[in-house]
C-alpha cells in the first residue's frame, strides 16, 4: 500500500476515532451534567426536573418531557404537591399516557399521544407534521417539528418514555438517540429514587397520621427503649413523645408482672419476635383500657432486628360490644328456646310459602315427629283443598292488604284427622309468613257447653219471669174471683135466680181452675239435690266469665274454710241464677270503666248479720257465704229498699226488673238470707247466706217444701154446718173487698169478725189483746209482711192462735205447715168455714184451756 494511501487511511481512522471520542465525551459531559443537576436539586422531584433540564441542554433541544403510561387509575406523585391541571383526564381504569414531568411545567399532567410509549423502542421523528398522531399532542408542544424518544422503565412497573423536542425538522441524529438512551438510565434511577422517597414519605405520613397507635422501640438496645411514638399513641395513652422516648413501654401495663398475657409479651420482646396480645393498660390519667397490641420486628440488611414496632388499638368498646353480643346471642337463644317451648304452634315459611321452621308444639299439633318432615314443604299440606282455597283467596288477600290475618279454620293433621285451629298469620316482607296457631278443639267444646248453659239459664230466666207474671196475675185474678164467689155465696138463693148463682159459682170455679193450670204452666220444676256449692259456683262463674269484657277483672275465690266440699241442697240452676244475676248487675254497675268483680265462697263467719236485707239468719244454722262484690257505681239507700221488688230496675229499658226479684225468691226459698253493702261510688257487695245440709233442720222452721208440693185444703163437700158463735176472728187481707167477703161468710156462721188490710194493724190488734182473738184468717202476699211472717209474729204474742191462710197462690206457699189450715182463693163458704173449723180444732188441741 502506497504511503499516501496509508496516510489517508490512518487519517480517516483518526478522524473516526476523534468522532467517537467526541461522542463519548459528549455523553460523559451529559451524564456528569445530569448527575450534577440531580445532586444540586436536593429533593427527588426537583432532581428529576433538573435532570430533564440537563438533558435538554445536552441535546440542545427545545423541550424534554417524561411520559408515563398509567395502567391503573392512581394519582401521579407530583399531584401530591401540585394539583392536577384542569385539563388532565379524569382518573379511569383505561391506560392513558400523560406527561408526568417536563421542562415546561405547564404541560405536566396533560394527556399525550400513546405512540412513543406504546412503541416500546427508541425513535426519531423527522417531522411531526408528517404524522397524524402528533395532532393529539398538547397544544403548547405541537409547534415542535422533531421528536426523539427512548423508552424508560418505571419503578412502579408501567411504561414510559423520555422525549426531546425541537423546532427544526430532522433535528436529531443517531448519536443523539444513543446519548438520550444513556441519559434515560439516569432518569430511571432518578424516578426510582423519587418513587422510594415518595413511598418513604407516604409511609411516614401514614404512620404519623394514622389513628392507630404506633410505637417503635430500639431492638438493638437490650432495654428496648422507645424511639418513636406517633400522635395516635399520645392520644391513646395520654403520654406525649418526650415523656416516653427512651423508656421501655412496660409503664403502660396495668397488669401484674407475672400475668400470663404480660409474660407472653415480655418473652416475645426478648426474642424480638412477633405476636398479638390483649392487655389491660393504664392511661396517664389513671383510666384503664383494653389494648390489642401487635408486635413485629423490622430487620436490617443483615437480617437482624433493628427496631420493634408495636401497633395498639383500644378495644375496650369492642370488648364491651362483644360482651353485649354474647348477651344478645344468649337472649336470642332464649327467645329461640321460648319459641321452641311455646305451647302455641309457631311456623315460618319462606316467601314461596314453604316451611323453613316449625316449633315442636306446631309439629305435635299436626302429628309430625320431626321438623325434617315439613321443612321445604308448602303450607298447603296442612289443609284440605277447600280450606287451602279459603286461605289463599281470603287470607292471602288480607295479608297483602294489611299484613296480618287471623282466623279459625279446620286444618288437617298428618294422619288426616281434623284439627280445629286458630291461626294468626303475619306477612314479613322478604321473609315470608309467620304463623302462630293453637288447637281450639277444647275451647270450642267449652264454648259450646257455655252456650248450652247460657241457653239453659236464659230459659230458666224466661220461665221464672213467666212464673212471676203468672203468679201476679193469678194472685190478683183469684182475689177478684174470691170477691165474686164469696159475694155470690152470700146472696140469698131465694132472692136471686138460683140458676144464675149456680152459673156464677160454676164459672168462678172453672176460672179458678184455669188460673191454677196457668200457674202450673209458668212454674219451673226445681230439681233440688245435694251438691258441692264450690263446683256449682265454679261452673256458674265460668259461665259468667264469658259475658265479662276484658277491661273487668273477674276473680273466683274459695276461702280456706271451703277447702272441703260445701254441701247444700240446691238446684244448680238456682246457684247459676243467683250468681249470674248478681254478676251481671255488677258488670253493668261498672259500665265502660275498668274495674273488678270478685266472687268469693267461704263458710260463714261466726258473727252473722242480724238484719239481712232478705230472709232471716237462724241461730244454730251453718251457712255458706257466697258474695259478689264489685268496684262499680254503688246503690243509693232509696234504691236499696226497692231493688228486690219485681219489675224494679235502675237500668231503664235495658233492665227487666226481675233479676234481683228472682234472687230474692231463691234466697227465701232456700231459707237463707242476703245482705247488701253498698254506697254510691263505693261499689256493692251482695252476700247470700246459704244453709249447709250438714246443719240439722230447724224444728221451728220446717225446711222448705218444694214449690207446688202444697195443695190447698179440700172444700167441705159434706155440707157440714159450722157454728162460730162466740168466736172473734181477725181477717187480714190487703184487698179490702176480699176481706170483707170473708168476714161476711164467717159472720153468717155466727162469728164476730174484724177486718184489716195491713198486717202491721193485725199484729197490733192481737198484741193489744192477745187472748181476745179466737182465730186469724190471713192473706199471704201482702205489702210489708207476708202471711207467714205475720203468723210467726202473732204466735210470738199469742202462742197457739189458730191461723188460716187464704191465699190466691196456694202452690207458692213455701212453709204450709206454719198454718193450721190453708184454702185457696177464690174460696167458697164451705171451704172457708171448714178451714176455720179445722184451725179452731187444732188450736184447741194446742191450748186445752181455751177450749
Amino acid at each position: 500500500m502506497a504511503d499516501d494511501e496509508a496516510l489517508r487511511e490512518a487519517l480517516i481512522e483518526l478522524e473516526q476515532l476523534r468522532a467517537r471520542e467526541a461522542a463519548a465525551r459528549r455523553a460523559s459531559d451529559a451524564v456528569l451534567h445530569g448527575l450534577t443537576a440531580i445532586t444540586e436539586a436536593g429533593k427527588p422531584t426537583a432532581a428529576l426536573r433538573a435532570l430533564l433540564g440537563s438533558i435538554r441542554e445536552s441535546l440542545a433541544c427545545a423541550e424534554t418531557v417524561l411520559l408515563v403510561r398509567e395502567t391503573t387509575a392512581h394519582p401521579t406523585p407530583n399531584t401530591v404537591a401540585t394539583p392536577t391541571p384542569a385539563t388532565a383526564p379524569p382518573a379511569s381504569a383505561e391506560p392513558a399516557t400523560v406527561v408526568r414531568y417536563a421542562t415546561e411545567p405547564d404541560v405536566e399532567g396533560l394527556p399525550f399521544p400513546d405512540h412513543p410509549v406504546a412503541a416500546g423502542r427508541p425513535g426519531r421523528l423527522v417531522d411531526t407534521e408528517a404524522v397524524g398522531w402528533w395532532d393529539n399532542a398538547p397544544e403548547i408542544l405541537r409547534r415542535h417539528r422533531a421528536v426523539l424518544w427512548v423508552p424508560i422503565a418505571l419503578p412502579e412497573g408501567g411504561a414510559g418514555a423520555i422525549l426531546c423536542l425541537d423546532y427544526g425538522v430532522a433535528r436529531f441524529s443517531p448519536a443523539d438517540q444513543a446519548l438520550l438512551a444513556r441519559l434515560a438510565g439516569l432518569a430511571a434511577q432518578a424516578l426510582a429514587t423519587l418513587a422510594l422517597s415518595e413511598r418513604n414519605a407516604l409511609l411516614a405520613g401514614v404512620i404519623e397520621g394514622t389513628t392507630a397507635s404506633v410505637a417503635i422501640a430500639d431492638a438493638r438496645d437490650p432495654a428496648t427503649p422507645l424511639i418513636y411514638v406517633n400522635p395516635a399513641f399520645t392520644a391513646l395513652s395520654g403520654y406525649a413523645g418526650e415523656a416516653v422516648l427512651g423508656r421501655n413501654c412496660r409503664f403502660l401495663s396495668d397488669e401484674a408482672p407475672d400475668a400470663p398475657e404480660r409474660t407472653r409479651l415480655r418473652e416475645c420482646v426478648a426474642e424480638r419476635g412477633s405476636g398479638e396480645f390483649v392487655l389491660r393498660n393504664r392511661r396517664r390519667d389513671g383510666a384503664t383500657f383494653w389494648n390489642r397490641l401487635s408486635l413485629y420486628p423490622i430487620l436490617d440488611d443483615e437480617g437482624l432486628p433493628s427496631v420493634l414496632v408495636a401497633t395498639q388499638v383500644d378495644i375496650t368498646t369492642e370488648r364491651a360490644a362483644e360482651a353485649a353480643r354474647v348477651q344478645a346471642e344468649y337472649a336470642l337463644a332464649q327467645r329461640a328456646a321460648a319459641i321452641d317451648a311455646a305451647q302455641d304452634g309457631i311456623a315460618i315459611t319462606d316467601p314461596a310459602g314453604r316451611f323453613v321452621y316449625m316449633n315442636p308444639a306446631h309439629l305435635a299439633l299436626f302429628g309430625f315427629e320431626d321438623e325434617a318432615q315439613v321443612l321445604g314443604q308448602p303450607w298447603q299440606i296442612l289443609y284440605e283443598p277447600e280450606q287451602a282455597e279459603i286461605v289463599e283467596r281470603i287470607g292471602m288477600a288480607e295479608l297483602a292488604r294489611t299484613g296480618t290475618w287471623r282466623t279459625e279454620i279446620l286444618a288437617r293433621a298428618r294422619d288426616g284427622t281434623p284439627v280445629e285451629q286458630e291461626a294468626s298469620l303475619t306477612l314479613l316482607e322478604g321473609i315470608g309468613l309467620i304463623c302462630v296457631t293453637r288447637d281450639i278443639s277444647a275451647r270450642n267444646r267449652d264454648e259450646r257447653e257455655r252456650a248450652r248453659l247460657r241457653e239453659r239459664l236464659s230459659a230458666a230466666q224466661r220461665q221464672e219471669a213467666m212464673a212471676q207474671l203468672s203468679a201476679g196475675i193469678a194472685h190478683d185474678f183469684n182475689n177478684l174471683l174470691s170477691v165474686i164467689t164469696t159475694s155470690a155465696a152470700l146472696m140469698d138463693a131465694a132472692e136471686a135466680d138460683a140458676a144464675a148463682l149456680a152459673r156464677i159459682q160454676a164459672a168462678a170455679a172453672r176460672a179458678s181452675a184455669l188460673v191454677g193450670r196457668m200457674l202450673d204452666l209458668g212454674g219451673r220444676k226445681r230439681e233440688r239435690r245435694s251438691l258441692d256449692l264450690r263446683q256449682a259456683v265454679s261452673e256458674a262463674g265460668e259461665l259468667l266469665r264469658a259475658g265479662i269484657p276484658g277491661r273487668i277483672a273477674l276473680s273466683i275465690e274459695t276461702g280456706p274454710a271451703a277447702a272441703a266440699a260445701v254441701s247444700v241442697e240446691a238446684d244448680p240452676t238456682d246457684v247459676a241464677q243467683v250468681l249470674l244475676n248478681l254478676g251481671i248487675n255488677a258488670r253493668d254497675a261498672l259500665g265502660q270503666r275498668t274495674g273488678e268483680i270478685r266472687i268469693a265462697l267461704d263458710t260463714a263467719p261466726a258473727m252473722l248479720p242480724q238484719n239481712p236485707a232478705l230472709g232471716r239468719i237462724v241461730a244454730g244454722v251453718d251457712y255458706a257465704c257466697l258474695s259478689v262484690s264489685d268496684t262499680g257505681s254503688g246503690i243509693d239507700a232509696e234504691a236499696q229498699t226497692r231493688i228486690f221488688r219485681p219489675y224494679f230496675t235502675t237500668k231503664g229499658v235495658a233492665g227487666t226488673g226481675l233479676g234481683l226479684a228472682v234472687v230474692a225468691g231463691i234466697v227465701e226459698e232456700i231459707g237463707g238470707a242476703l245482705t247488701l253493702e253498698s254506697s254510691p261510688g263505693a261499689g256493692s257487695r251482695f252476700t247470700v247466706y246459704w244453709p249447709l245440709t250438714s246443719t240439722p233442720p230447724c224444728p221451728a222452721l220446717p225446711y222448705l217444701a218444694p214449690l207446688g208440693a202444697v195443695e190447698p185444703d179440700p172444700p167441705n163437700t159434706g155440707r157440714e154446718v159450722f157454728d162460730l158463735q162466740g168466736r172473734l176472728v181477725l181477717i187480714c187481707d190487703d184487698q179490702a173487698e176480699v176481706g170483707e167477703g170473708l168476714a161476711a161468710i164467717l159472720e153468717r156462721a155466727g162469728a164476730e169478725t174484724a177486718v184489716c188490710t195491713a198486717p202491721e194493724d193485725a199484729l197490733a190488734a192481737i198484741t193489744e189483746d192477745p187472748d181476745a182473738w179466737s182465730l186469724l184468717v190471713t192473706d199471704y202476699d201482702m205489702p210489708g209482711m207476708t202471711g207467714a211472717a205475720l203468723t210467726e209474729a202473732v204466735r210470738a204474742v199469742r202462742p197457739g192462735l189458730g191461723v188460716v191462710l187464704c191465699t190466691a197462690l196456694p202452690k207458692a206457699v213455701r212453709r204450709p205447715a206454719l198454718f193450721d189450715a190453708l184454702c185457696a182463693k177464690p174460696v167458697t163458704p164451705d171451704t172457708l168455714l171448714g178451714a176455720v173449723a179445722r184451725a179452731a180444732e187444732a188450736a184447741a188441741k194446742e191450748s186445752p184451756c181455751e177450749s
Binding site: M1, A2, D4, E5, L7, R8, E9, L11, I12, E13, L14, E15, Q16, R20, R121, G123, R124, L125, V126, D127, T128, A130, V131, V169, A170, R171, F172, S173, P174
Partner: protein, 403 residues
C-alpha cells in the same frame, strides 16, 4: 439478527434461483430458521428474469424484497460469482425486533420527488411513518443519483446514512434495473428502510490518491464538463493523464471508461490534518466538442483534482474498507451477523483478474460472516463529515452486528 448469503452463476434464471434457494434453505435448516427473512437483498446480472425472482420471493412469503442489477455478477463467500457474466446473489436478513420495508419507483421527470415518495412509502410499509431509520439501503439507475439522495433526505433528514449503489449491467447498454417485490424499473429507484434491533456500522471510501494536477470547472452542464480553467475538458484531462487517455474523437465520442479507471477526477470533501480527501468522478466519454462526460454531477466552480490509482490498491481496498467498517462500529468479526459490500463496477473491470483475491480479502475481513458484494455504476454513502454523497470508483461496506 441473523444473515445468510447465497449466489449462483447459472445463466438460466430458474436454475440460478433454484440454486440460490437450495443454498439458503440448507443454511436456514442448519441455523434453525423456519420463517421467511424480514429482508431479502437480491443482486443479479442484468440477463436474469426479474419477474421470476419476484414471484419466487412472493411465494416464499418474503415481506421485503430489495433488488438491483449488478455488473457481471456478485461476490460472496470469498469468491466472485460471475461466470460468463452471469451472477445471481441474495442476502437474507432476519431481525424480529426490527422493522424493514422497501419501495421501488420510476424516477420520471422529478427524481427527487420520486425518491422521497418511495422512501415515505417504505416507511409506511415498515409502520414507522415519519421516523428516521438506522440505515437507508439504496438501489438506483445511473444518471440522477444526487437528486435521489436529496429526495430521500427530504423524507428522513440528512442524519440518516444512505448507502447503496447504482444499478449496472455488463456493457453499459442500459440493461440495468431496480425492483422491489411488486415492480421493477429501468430508470428507477428502490429504497429500503432498515430499523435494526442491533447496531450497524459502515465505511465508504476510495482507493485513489491525488496526483499532480488540479483545476476549476469553468463550464459544465449536468454530468458533462465542458471546460476546466477555460480550456476544453478533454484536452485538460489528456494533459493531466500524461497523454495516456487521449482518445480519438475526430469521428465522435470515445468511450474512456476503462482507461480512466485509474485516473479519475476528484472533488475535495474536506481535509483531515490538512490532508485533503476527495469524492471521485469517473470520466466515461470524451466528446468531440471537448466535453468530458462523467458518472457524477459536476458544477461550475468545483475544484477538480487529478487522482491516480493502481491495480494493487483497488485489489486490496475492498478488504480494508470492510475492516474499516468493523472498526467504525467497534465490532470484531465474530460480533457481526453479515455484511453488504458495494464495489465500483469500473474498478471491478479494472482488476477483473484479481477479483477472487478481492472477494477473499473481504471475506477474511468479515471473519467469514455471510456477505454479498455487488458491482455498481456509482456508489452512494456518507463521506467524511457525515454527508450522504454520490461518487464513483468508491467502495463501501455495511456490517450488521448480531446484537
Amino acid at each position: 439478527m441473523h444473515l445468510l448469503a447465497a449466489a449462483s452463476d447459472r445463466a438460466d434464471t430458474a436454475n440460478a434461483i433454484a440454486e440460490v434457494l437450495d443454498t439458503l434453505e440448507r443454511a436456514m435448516a442448519q441455523d434453525g430458521l423456519e420463517r421467511a427473512p424480514d429482508l431479502l437483498v437480491v443482486q443479479t446480472s442484468a440477463n436474469h428474469d426479474i419477474a421470476a425472482i419476484q414471484a419466487v420471493a412472493r411465494k416464499a412469503g418474503v415481506p421485503t424484497l430489495h433488488g438491483a442489477t449488478t455488473s457481471q455478477g456478485v461476490m460472496t463467500g470469498g469468491r466472485m460469482v460471475a461466470e460468463g457474466g452471469n451472477g445471481l446473489g441474495a442476502l437474507a436478513l432476519w431481525d424480529g425486533g426490527g422493522a424493514y420495508a422497501s419501495a421501488a419507483a420510476a424516477l420520471g421527470e422529478d427524481p427527487r420527488t420520486a425518491a422521497r415518495r418511495a422512501t415515505e412509502r417504505a416507511l409506511d410499509k415498515a409502520g414507522r411513518a415519519g421516523e428516521a431509520p438506522d440505515l437507508i439501503w439504496l438501489g438506483v439507475a445511473p444518471g440522477r443519483e444526487e437528486a435521489v439522495i436529496a429526495g430521500i433526505e427530504d423524507a428522513v433528514g440528512a442524519n440518516t446514512p444512505i448507502l447503496g449503489g447504482s444499478a449496472a449491467d455488463n456493457a453499459i447498454t442500459g440493461a440495468w434495473c431496480v425492483f422491489d417485490g411488486d415492480a421493477h424499473h429501468a430508470d428507477g429507484v428502490v429504497v429500503s428502510v432498515l430499523f435494526t434491533s442491533a447496531p450497524v456500522a459502515l465505511a465508504y471510501q476510495s482507493g485513489y490518491a491525488p496526483a499532480q494536477h488540479a483545476g476549476t470547472v469553468t463550464r459544465a452542464e449536468g454530468r458533462t464538463i465542458h471546460e476546466i480553467d477555460g480550456e476544453a475538458a478533454t484536452a485538460v484531462y489528456a494533459r493531466w493523464t500524461g497523454g495516456r487517455i487521449a482518445p480519438n474523437i475526430c469521428h465522435g465520442p470515445a468511450n474512456v471508461l476503462a482507461e480512466s479507471t485509474f485516473h479519475p477526477l476528484g472533488r475535495p470533501l474536506g481535509a483531515v490534518a490538512e490532508v485533503p480527501f476527495h469524492l471521485l468522478a469517473h470520466p466515461a466519454v470524451a466528446r468531440p466538442d471537448g466535453g468530458l462526460e462523467l458518472f457524477a454531477d459536476v458544477a461550475v466552480g468545483e475544484r477538480l483534482q487529478a487522482m491516480t490509482g493502481s491495480v494493487e490498491s483497488l485489489t486490496a481496498r475492498a478488504g480494508r474498507v470492510a475492516a474499516l467498517a468493523l472498526r467504525q462500529g467497534g465490532l470484531a468479526p465474530e460480533d457481526i451477523a453479515g455484511a453488504l459490500v458495494v464495489y465500483c463496477g469500473g474498478c471491478m473491470l479494472g482488476v477483473r483478474a484479481q477479483m477472487d483475491a478481492v472477494a477473499a480479502d473481504v471475506d477474511n475481513a468479515l471473519g467469514g460472516a455471510p456477505s454479498l458484494g455487488l458491482f455498481t455504476f456509482g456508489e452512494q454513502g456518507p463521506v467524511v463529515g457525515g454527508r450522504n454523497r454520490h461518487g464513483n470508483l468508491m467502495i463501501s461496506c455495511v456490517v450488521f452486528a448480531k446484537a
